[in-house]
């Protein structure tokens, strides 16, 4: 089965510019997550979708970050305007809606964002 796809893999932008990341989860996975991983830290959840509805976005900086999952499949994460502290790897993960394994997640390769 194909894994979680993300693009682009790398992005360099200047502060105050905007950027968008794309994620295609594993086919049939109902739950999709976006994480931010700052260098030297573990991933931090930004937003979680169940199908096309938001389940948890409590740690999403909503003044500059937005995310959507139209049709409950692909998702995009946008930053506008970017700040220097947004430099990080942005990971997308998906999970099957299965009560026996509710927390097992499958991760994409990530997008490394550098804000200069």
């Amino acid at each position: 089965e194909a894994g979680v796809a993300q693009s682009p893999r790398y992005k360099i932008i200047e502060k105050r510019q905007s950027v968008a990341f794309w994620c295609n989860p594993i086919s049939g996975h109902a739950t999709l997550y976006w994480y931010q991983q700052i260098l030297g830290q573990g991933p931090k959840l930004l937003i979680q979708f169940q199908n096309n509805g938001v389940v948890d976005d409590s740690q999403l900086p909503k003044d500059r970050f937005s995310a959507e999952r139209l049709k409950g499949v692909d998702s995009t994460l946008k930053i506008q305007p970017a700040k220097l502290e947004d430099s990080a790897v942005y990971l997308c993960a998906s999970s099957p809606f299965r009560a026996s394994a509710p927390y097992e997640q499958y991760f994409g390769p990530g997008t490394r964002l550098t804000v200069t």
Partner: protein, 114 residues
């Protein structure tokens, strides 16, 4: 608040030597526990998980972990390390409530010397 602590930022072991990576969690109930591995430029890959039952769980690539409730620990072990095991290892806790939330530790980077 729930948290995951990985006390060792980095560890160096010789190839063929045994390995133990430490993980402690803070949570009121028995959590769901995970170990993930991240190779350079890659996403995270699940090594093993503990949901309930036998406290010693086996994972992929020869890894195992033991859940110790009394110590709030979930340490990862491997009897003989291979050079390809060099990577970053993350312990994580899965929590119920609202959505299914996973909290990751800061990670332990493993270096393997020949």
């Amino acid at each position: 608040a729930q948290s995951v602590t990985q006390p060792d930022i980095h560890i160096t072991v010789s190839e063929g030597a045994s390995l133990e990576l430490r993980c402690n969690y803070s949570y009121g109930a028995t959590p769901y526990l995970f170990w993930y591995v991240q190779s350079p430029g890659q996403g995270l890959q699940l090594l093993l998980k503990y949901f309930s039952g036998d406290t010693l769980v086996q994972g992929i690539k020869g890894f195992e972990a033991e859940f110790k409730r009394s110590q709030s620990s979930f340490n990862l072990r491997k009897p003989s390390v291979h050079w390809s095991d060099a990577a970053e290892y993350f312990c994580a806790v899965g929590l119920q409530g609202g959505g299914f939330k996973t909290i990751f530790g800061a990670g332990t980077r493993l270096f393997v010397k020949a």
